[in-house]
């Protein structure tokens, strides 16, 4: 009589993760302090999937034999880890001091209104994710909004519609930044 469900669990977990992550976990298993590889593993998962799904975190826990509560505890502690799917474009509103005194909160409010999401969320169409960030080192352009890896600034609440438009319409020049 076999009552062990490990074979099925292992197979399902391996299927939930990219092969290189599984290999990485295997490589470090049983080495001293192998559970300190957890953050590195989560980085790998997020880099391929864009975020950490519950299924993937569970797979990491099972394969690396790190308690799941610890995995999700770490994933929720660090700002860098995302627990929801990421949109096609990542919008980061700078809430650093310089941007903030120049009205970054109004820009944030406008973005939330226009996109219908809060910080940390993704639009239903999967187009945009909204995040806040601290100083991006471009205080001279304050207030700034970073979309993917492009910085836009200074941006006023009135510029938001045009800005979003550039990413939603598939014109040739759509990816070009707003001239600074």
């Amino acid at each position: 009589m076999t009552t062990d469900n490990w074979t099925e669990i292992k197979a399902a977990c391996e299927a939930a993760l990219p092969a290189e992550v599984v290999a990485f976990i295997e490589k470090h298993k049983g080495t001293p302090h192998s559970e300190s590889q957890l953050i590195a593993i989560l980085h790998m998962v997020q880099n391929t999937a864009g975020y950490l799904s519950k299924e993937q975190m569970n797979a990491v826990a099972q394969l690396a034999q790190i308690p799941l509560a610890k995995v999700t505890g770490v994933a929720t502690f660090y700002h860098y880890f995302r627990l929801n799917p990421r949109g096609k474009h990542m919008i980061n509103v700078c809430l650093g001091t310089a941007c903030y005194v120049k009205g970054a909160d109004k820009i944030a409010q406008r973005l939330m209104g226009d996109l219908g999401i809060q910080f940390g969320e993704t639009t239903k169409d999967g187009m945009f994710s909204l995040e806040s960030t601290r100083c991006l080192g471009t205080c001279g352009l304050a207030p700034v909004v970073m979309v993917d890896d492009q910085i836009h600034g200074p941006v006023g609440p009135g510029d938001i519609a045009t800005l979003l438009d550039r990413y939603t319409t598939k014109k040739k020049g759509a990816k070009a930044p707003i001239p600074v």
Partner: protein, 587 residues
């Protein structure tokens, strides 16, 4: 030789071994430094900062719990600044805490409340933002109320370090930090094995047992004759409930307990001990069968529902080794609604069974489909913890301490001393050995005392020679110790024959439903189960009947109703089965 360190605490000189913490050094001088997150039997956390002290030469405070002493150290534990700092810390905790002491289950037994009183907080200065979370009562056993949590992480530590379950962790950061199972999912969708040790170590009421008192009050207030209400207290209740009424730890109160139950209105007071004796008969026969080559060895005991949950989630491959015997509670409940019902001329649904257990996992056990009748009703209708029953007795205005002694009803109230010791770690093993030794040797009077399996050590191993056979036994309590023995069994090598596993550290006497210890003792202090167990061993030695198979009521039960031990009817009524369950725990 240990280096000795000289220091002064509140101007008093003291010498302590190097490596002693300030907190422990102060205790030697009789100075109790306030603490919240600190627990002597868990790892250091340093989260609450309540134990801060002032040290000469430092312009900031140091925490007494983690700071080791050094030569010439001058410590102030009670300067005005220190008192103010501690008060501020507690006040800030209170600001983020629901101020509902009057209606809180832990009123009077809350460490936060005690510290607030001791430090002289008599008014609230701030009215700040407060965390708001829903209560999670999804589990059949453990209710989680994150609003009452002060983030001391004692639950996280006991779950990880003592139970090896690691179901709890801090999630998020800063003001949003919350302690809960992985993904902050519901408790019934987590790796929780429902032992309830988180309840015992929690300084507040962030963890509590699922309340069953309401349904019991309701049953007891039904018009006479609607339901025949029967009750069964577990062995360890009689060794602990006296504490709730100010009696010294380890006072056996069987007789008073019976009278109190009668006064509450139960129609019949039976004894889980009877179920324990029956478990021994069934389990001893199962053991002898396996010794004879039928089935796998070692035989793992199955009385502890926390352990059963652990088995199903963490070690499902060990299911074939585990005894199929129901727990004493479930065996007795089953008999109440079959054998006893028949005798009384009642239908099973006319009987209402209440079990008093030292355990919160028993609440879950009672709700399991395996422990239900064919019509879907449970054999055990309600499970009260020792704490819940103590509260009901107080609430009813019963002067417990001065109650006359009562006696259990017959026939399901007759038991041997072997049943009483079930509440102590090693007790099930000893009880089983008493019967097995007689059956194996064929001699009427086998050994009674098995000293090797007594005491609260987490893992005990011994080899006994019975009837010329070497029998390797192991007894574990606290699930981290269970992991050790299970991994040894899996690794092969030494052939174990009989292994007792109890989920809670110290066995049932220190279960997740037992009274919170008095002020001068910490939960998890090995003295606590030791003293309570002493009461059980005393009850055992005071009894005429010492072996389960000598119980005449049990003998009669087999003749009249069950047939043969391990026979078809016994198997149908008294045995159960287990299955791998999810989520799979990480060990």
């Amino acid at each position: 030789m240990t280096t000795m360190i000289n220091l002064t605490i509140d101007q008093e000189p003291i010498q302590v071994p190097a490596g002693t913490t300030v907190l422990k050094a102060a205790e030697k001088l009789g100075i109790h430094i306030p603490r919240l997150c600190y627990h002597p039997n868990l790892s250091l956390e340093g989260a609450c900062r309540v134990c801060v002290v002032q040290v000469e030469g430092f312009n900031h405070f140091l925490t007494a719990c983690g700071q080791e002493v050094w030569e010439g150290m001058e410590i102030q534990t009670n300067s005005p600044q220190i008192r103010q700092a501690r008060r501020d810390i507690i006040e800030l905790l209170l600001d983020n805490h629901p101020m509902d002491c009057q209606t809180c289950d832990r009123d009077g037994q809350c460490e936060l409340q005690k510290q607030a009183y001791r430090l002289g907080i008599r008014e609230r200065l701030f009215e700040g933002k407060r965390k708001i979370y829903p209560v999670d009562d999804s589990s059949e056993s453990v209710v989680r109320t994150p609003e009452k949590c002060i983030l001391c992480e004692r639950c996280v530590r006991v779950c990880e370090e003592v139970q090896g379950v690691h179901n709890l962790s801090q999630h998020g950061r800063g003001f949003q930090t919350v302690v809960g199972p992985a993904n902050l999912s519901k408790m019934d969708d987590s790796a929780c094995i429902m032992c309830g040790q988180c309840i015992n170590v929690c300084p507040t009421a962030a963890f509590l047992e699922k309340d069953h008192t309401e349904r019991v009050w309701e049953a007891l207030s039904l018009p006479r004759g609607v339901k025949h209400i029967v009750v069964q207290p577990a062995p360890s209740i009689r060794a602990a409930i006296g504490e709730c009424f100010g009696m010294p730890i380890g006072t056996p109160v069987t007789g008073k307990l019976i009278t109190a139950l009668r006064r509450l209105g139960f129609d019949a007071v039976f004894d889980t001990n009877f179920g324990a004796d029956l478990t021994i008969i069934e389990e001893a026969h199962e053991f002898l069968r396996r010794m004879g080559g039928e089935g796998q060895l070692p035989l793992l005991t199955s009385c502890s529902p926390g352990w059963v949950n652990f088995l199903e989630k963490f070690y499902p491959e060990m299911i074939p080794f585990t005894s199929t015997c129901k727990s004493p509670m479930s065996m007795l409940s089953t008999l109440m609604k079959t054998y006893y019902a028949e005798k009384k001329g009642l239908k099973p649904e006319e009987i209402y069974v209440v079990a008093i257990m030292p355990c919160v996992a028993k609440k879950y056990e009672a709700s399991r489909p395996e422990h239900r009748m064919e019509n879907g009703d449970p054999y055990t209708d309600a499970v009260l913890t020792t704490r819940e029953l103590a509260w009901m007795i107080k609430s009813y205005g019963i002067d417990f301490v001065n109650l006359p002694d009562g006696e259990f009803d017959r026939p399901l109230g007759i038991s041997s001393g072997a049943a009483d010791i079930f509440g102590a770690t090693g007790g099930v093993m000893e009880a089983a050995l008493r019967t097995a030794a007689v059956k194996l040797t064929g001699e009427e009077l086998g050994p009674l005392m098995f000293e090797d399996v007594r005491g609260v050590t987490g893992l005990k191993e011994a080899t006994l020679t019975i009837a010329g056979m070497d029998i390797n036994i192991a007894v574990s309590n606290g699930l981290t110790n269970a992991k050790v023995i299970l991994d040894k069994i899996k690794a092969g090598g030494k052939q174990y024959h009989l292994v007792e596993i109890m989920a809670c550290p110290g066995g049932c006497v220190a279960g997740g439903g037992q009274p919170y210890p008095p002020m001068d003792m910490d939960v998890l202090d090995p003295q606590l189960p030791l003293l309570r167990a002493k009461a059980l061993y005393k009850i055992d030695t005071d009894k005429q009947l010492r072996r389960s198979h000598e119980n005449p009521a049990i003998e009669h039960l087999y003749q009249e109703f069950l047939g043969e031990p391990n026979g078809e009817k016994a198997h149908h009524l008294l045995h159960t089965h287990y299955k791998a369950s999810l989520p799979r725990g990480i060990r």
